[in-house]
Amino acid sequence: MPVPITIEKLTKRFGAKTVLRDIDVQIAAGEIFFLLGPSGCGKTTLLRAVAGLNDPDEGRILAGDRDVTHLPPHQRDMGMVFQSYALWPHMSLRENVAFGLEMRGIGKADIQARVMRALEMVRLADRADSKPNELSGGQQQRVALARALVIEPQCLLLDEPLSNLDAKLRLEMRTEIRRICKEAGLTAIYVTHDQKEALSIADRLAVLDQGRLLQIGSPQEVYTRPGSRFVAQFIGETTFVEGRVLGWRDGRAEIETAAGIWTAQTAGGLEAGETVWLSVRPEAVQLHTDRADGPNVFNAALHATIYLGEVAQHAVELGGDISLKALETRPRLVARDDARAETRLYVDPADVQVLKA
């Protein structure tokens, strides 16, 4: 049965280095929760602490009402999919998948039936007697998933499960994993450094950096309302522009930058004179605008373009040595090398994020 997972004030040190600091997370039963961050941020350490594969120095981990913080891994009932899959090479798929059921003392006939059902679910029933090394990477990944799911765990843990697959397979498996988790109603904790994976599968996600939890929220919240410069540039692309607050009223702020005055919609209270950063996503920059003068309309010069077919990413120079990234669908203008093309651009104040310095 899926249970909620609660992580309270979790701290983990390796020697003198603190790899997790005071992590607080509440994951609801049946939720797909992502831990996202660059390598070395502590996300895998956190996952392994939940699995019982390392011992936290401070804090608690609850599975439902049960405190599992210092319980040995084999008593936790949390199926894990390892990054390397960790399929035992000396056992067939059938034996691999049956292992966890055997450990639970389940009868032979029952095991047989449940193993086959699990293998059917990942569409590998016909390969039940193959050895893991006879399978492709994607197939191995699915066996690892079946092995973790067949025990009907309280919680499913996934450690970068798609990182060893090629790009096309990764896309397929994204929907597949979400489908399987939702069908089984599982609580799942999923570790990745791939923001696309997180945005596309997660119910909610947490961004970590250097052992600290920076932000928790739904994919949309975290993408459109990043809480810090780190989150803004780790999830998606963005350009930062430094500025000074001229005034703030009714959720609208005027900010003076080297390229002129910007207007931004923001709920947070700002004081005049405060130094802030504006975050502008490339897709928010509307090129070739017909707008006359008004807020956030600027003259600009395209001066370098990365042409990608359906889109082009331009570097757009405003005044004052400020350059924005701008995404154009169905690109019309392409500036190569030193060629410059003059244009006018507009950014909706709702698309400008104000981040405190």
């Binding site: 699995a51 019982g52 594969l53 040995p72 891994p73 084999h74 008593q75 936790r76 009932d77 949390m78 199926g79 894990m80 390892f82 990054q83 390397s84 960790a86 399929l87 035992w88 090479p89 000396h90 292992f99 966890g100 450990m103 639970r104 092995r147 973790a148 025990i151 843990l157």
Partner: protein, 568 residues
Amino acid sequence: MRKSTAWFVFGAVTALLSVLFFWPLGTVISGGFWVNGKFTLRYLIGVFENPIYVEGLFNSLKIALGTTLLAMVVALPLAWIANQFEFRGKAAFSALVLVPMILPPFVGAIGFQQMFGAYGMINALFGLGARDWLGGGQYAGVVLLQTLSLYPILYLNAVAALANIDPAMEEAAANLGCTRLRRFFRITLPLMMPGLFAGGTLIFIWSFTELGTPLIMNYTRCASVQIYDSLKEIGSNPFPYALVTVMLAASVGLYAVSRRLFGGRAYAMQSKASTQSAVRTLSGWRGLLAALPFALVTGLALLPHLGVVLTSFAAPGSWYQSVLPQTFTGGNYIEALGHDMTVSSIRNSLLFSSLAVAFDIVVGIAIAFVVVRSKIRLRGVLDALSMIPLAVPGLVMAFGFLAVSSWLSNLKGFADADWWPRLVDVRTNPTLFLVLAYSVRRLPYMVRSAVAGLQQTSVTFEEAAWNLGASPAKTLRRITLPLIMANLIAGTLLTFAFSMLEVSDSLMLAQQADYMPITKAIFELFQLLGTGKYVAAALGVWAMAFLTATLVGSSLLLGKKLGAVFRV
């Protein structure tokens, strides 16, 4: 692995090794310095003042240096050719160069004398009269025999070191315009230095203290034989203790220096080899040219074995001033099997070796687990501790065990008990000490095999089992042990083979005919007048056949990793 379990294993193994290892060594060292309850340097100084001991030490050093250098000259080109080229029969040739390991060099010495002695095959073949090709002092013979039996260790080390080098290293040099031969000296050789010196140190220490070969070759003016000859006075004369201490200090010193210089610097390859090494296939006469050194070395290395086999089939006295024995007979084998000493020696060797192997399996796996799977700080110490027996000469250990036995059998309160001498006095029953000596000195092979197995086996396999609800004990049985089984079998075979072949401990500790292992029996038979040499050869052939089987088995199981076992 839980910390508490790791510490428990660490404590138990350290205590065990202290008793089995440091006690005998301590007895040796103190025996030369504490005489009649007082500390004295008299005997240590005395060793260096006695021209006979000084000459013995000097000659032992000469043997060790000669053997090590010659082994390098033989092994290095072979390893390089095997690494760089592909040619017809390469697999067979690279297996054949390992064959010399199946025979202790002192048994080969019997055959060697038949061929190169004054009245041997070579002189008869070329009509050269009674010239002794082994040189008056027998020095050349000892060095050659030891080289021919020890170079495989270096070859295995070199091949392993070469296999470990990412071919991209060499490809980068080639890309920058470096020729194949220069690449070897500029890139490959520096990168393989750690492995090479690991093997070289081992050979140096083994040949420095080798006892059997000089004994059979009658090269008596070397330290090991002098120590052997003084065993009768072990209770009364401090000089042998001081001499053994000097040899120990020299060996450990060399080990420490070479480990410091070369061992700690093993270059970590940034990537696992992403491409197959740039092996060039040689066909036609080029292929033959590449195979030639292998054929030459193998042929030369098999001469002693051939001599032993021929001797074993020669009617006693019929191989004298002739190319081949004049009368062939199977009688030596019948006589060997009929001899009391032979039958009991086979039984004894099997028993001692099996017990030693059982001991090593349990202790070796425990050590390997702590070393690889635990995070306790002192695990490096445990690793080093379990490797020291490789660096300490067998002769020294045997001497130490003898001294401990001699001390124990005079222990007050026990000495009068009927069962006590049967347990601890090697003059009555050496079983306990032989088994302990065999197992302590072979422990490193077991530890290395198990460590290699665990290192190759990702810990996530075990984590996955815990995660699915298997207890640590169940995980060990169902997942870990099956995954490292090939390594364990290989380690077991090596441990067993080298216990069966053991020379120093066997010669020194087994003094009762009823309890002699095979090697000691061969030595004793050899000394019998008349048929002794031929019967000894027959027993030697039996041992060869047995060891061939075990070594072939372990090299099949371990493949290229066999080299990693012979590394300090």
